[in-house]
């Protein structure tokens, strides 16, 4: 079933597979999905929400009886990861919203993931229990103590099968290391360390040590009046454990090498596209703010998302991106109202497919976009309940910018800006994608012939 892997845009037909969540007309804020992430094999899919909860889905084993169902995702485990807190010392309300989930590669039978809110990162262990000991001598099966004088025979307790139970336990809590709000976490390829980044600082942690964290980037100015930019996202290189990148609100990316200095304030590489001064406006800096940065699986490229575009950069070329894709350029003539309703500050994420040939990002009206880097073709699809019949092929959508609107098109003014797709995920090796549409999670797969 690697048929869809790395295939050209025109060959891939995306179909509806599943949708999770309810059809409520009013959305409870806690149910808003805030992060989506497949694990390294794609067997598990985790979501985090504004209510601090994590739900993990597991792909069911493929059955020979139903080959057209390429393994559906069912609930595996769910737990409350973070709770709302109040820092009395600073009069600061700390949201329980899960900002990011990152999986650790699997090293034994248990699964491990990192989940973070604005201030605290937690390492969760998710493990299965399918046996329990029976036949204790001093207590009976209900746990009640047996009268010792009644015991005449010694028996050896044995492990007997039981209904599968999946338990999630917090193994580490990494707290009190961030003055500002954590926007990113990234597991290092050494599997021993990870980083957490907030608006002004990036810290390096060892998984085993919770009471110490090493500051590797600090861009806080001595005088806060001089603050001109903040860190918006950060990620480790997929193979080189000494290398990481971080993006800024000014549209720049810095690549740092931890071997050169303890404090990586001086970057090894600085990626910035020169701006056309004639295009400069009040909005320029805001829309150039990078909301997400992702290394390609190969480690040769980075992808950045700003308000209107997705860009691919070659690590060897700092002065401009090698590719720029317009996500929804028609919004350029709506910037005034998008500023007024705060949508201009929405933080969209972006993802690579397993072979780095296609990139995906979300937009408004529950639209999401895919760009094939090889063919330069792109498509706009929609996550909606109307297109939710099993294996229904998704029809490409088109936004009409002024002039005659064709029958199936939607005009810019009719777009629903409250339906934003900020978080998406792509299976590491197959054409399966997870799209978070507010409080619903859609799973789409490519058509199996």
């Amino acid at each position: 079933f690697l048929a869809g892997f790395g295939s050209l845009m025109q060959d891939v037909l995306w179909c509806f597979s599943q949708v999770k969540g309810t059809l409520d007309t009013g959305v409870t804020e806690a149910d808003i999905i805030s992060t989506v992430e497949f694990n390294h094999t794609g067997e598990l899919l985790a979501t985090g929400d504004k209510g601090g909860r994590v739900v993990i889905f597991q792909r069911e084993q493929e059955s020979k009886n139903q080959p057209h169902r390429r393994g559906e995702y069912n609930v595996y485990s769910t737990f409350q990861s973070h709770e709302p807190e109040f820092d009395y010392l600073k009069s600061l309300e700390i949201e329980e919203k899960i900002n990011k989930i990152r999986w650790l590669p699997q090293q034994n039978a248990a699964y491990f993931l990192l989940s973070t809110n604005d201030k605290t990162v937690k390492l969760w262990k998710v493990s299965e229990r399918d046996k329990r000991p029976e036949g204790y001598n001093l207590k009976d099966e209900d746990g009640r103590l047996r009268d010792p004088s009644m015991i005449t025979v010694l028996r050896v307790p044995v492990l007997r099968p039981m209904d599968l139970m999946v338990e999630a336990t917090p193994r580490r809590v990494f707290a009190n290391a961030h003055t500002y709000h954590i926007n990113s976490i990234s597991v290092n390829s050494d599997y021993e360390t990870y980083m957490s980044a907030d608006d002004l600082r990036i810290n390096l942690w060892n998984f085993e040590i919770t009471n110490q964290s090493f500051n590797i980037v600090d861009i806080k100015p001595a005088n806060m009046e001089e603050l001109t930019e903040v860190i918006t996202a950060a990620e480790f290189h997929p193979h080189h454990c000494n290398t990481f990148v971080y993006s800024s609100s000014k549209g720049t990316i810095r690549l740092c090498d931890m071997r050169t200095a303890a404090l990586c304030d001086r970057h090894a590489k600085f990626f910035e596209e020169p701006e056309d001064p004639s295009n400069r406006s009040f909005f320029s800096e805001i829309i150039s703010s990078i909301s997400d940065v992702k290394f390609s699986h190969s480690g040769r490229y980075i992808m950045t998302r700003d308000y209107l575009t997705v860009k691919v950069w070659d690590l060897n070329m700092e002065n401009r991106p090698i590719e720029t894709y317009q996500v929804h350029d028609y919004l350029r003539s709506k910037l005034c109202s998008l500023y007024e309703n705060d949508c201009i500050f929405d933080k969209f994420e972006c993802v690579w497919n397993g072979s780095d040939s296609v990139i995906m990002t979300g937009s408004y009206n529950n639209f999401f976009r895919m760009f094939d880097r090889n063919t330069k073709r792109d498509v706009t699809l929609e996550a909606s309940r109307e297109n939710s019949k099993p294996r229904a092929i998704l029809k490409p959508r088109k936004v009409c910018v002024g002039g005659k609107r064709r029958k199936d098109e939607i005009s810019v003014d009719s777009l629903d800006f409250s339906k934003k797709i900020l978080h998406t995920a792509w299976h590491p090796s197959e054409n399966i994608i997870a799209v978070a549409a507010t409080n619903n999670l859609y799973i789409f797969q490519d058509k199996v012939n």
Binding site: K20, G21, T22, A30, D31, I33, T47, G51, G52, R53, V55, V75, T78, Q80, E83, P84, K90, S91, L92, E93, E95, D118, H181, D199, E225, L227, T228, E229, V230, S249, S278, N279, S281, F282, F283, S284, E285, I286, E323, T324, Q326, H328, D329, Y330, R332, S333, L335, C336, Y339, E340, K376, T380, K398, V399, C400, V401, G402, G403, R406, N439
Partner: protein, 118 residues
């Protein structure tokens, strides 16, 4: 501006070309037109676009200010009047606005299981 490779659907390009044609006459890029609109609505908008004000607001997220003295004074002063209630999420509000228990958002954690797991 020139549309780079990989631009959106055919329809968008046509629309953009039309807009470009119109704009060539005016020579105003859409961003600037939007900027003019904004400045017309909010003449006092800061001179530092995307500068410190935005960033400070971002860093201030979650900050809640409360002074028990102010609160009790306001309560005493306004015994017969309704206390002014909070506007929609204005984190930087201080001074005249006195928060009341009704204003504060509910801070109970979600003890309910996620609906995704239903």
């Amino acid at each position: 501006m020139a549309a780079p490779l990989g631009t959106g659907a055919f329809t968008e390009e046509t629309g953009q070309e039309k807009q470009d044609a119109q704009e060539k006459d005016k020579a105003i890029p859409p961003e600037r037109a939007e900027e003019a609109k904004l400045k017309a609505k909010y003449p006092n908008l800061g001179q530092k676009p995307g500068g410190s004000d935005f960033l400070m607001k971002r860093l201030q997220k979650g900050q809640k200010y409360f002074d028990s003295g102010d609160y009790n004074m306001a309560k005493a002063k306004m015994k017969n009047k309704q206390l002014p209630s909070a506007g929609p999420d204005k984190n930087l509000v201080t001074g005249d606005h006195i928060p009341t228990p009704q204003d504060l958002p509910q801070r109970k954690s979600s003890l309910v299981t996620s609906k995704l797991a239903g």
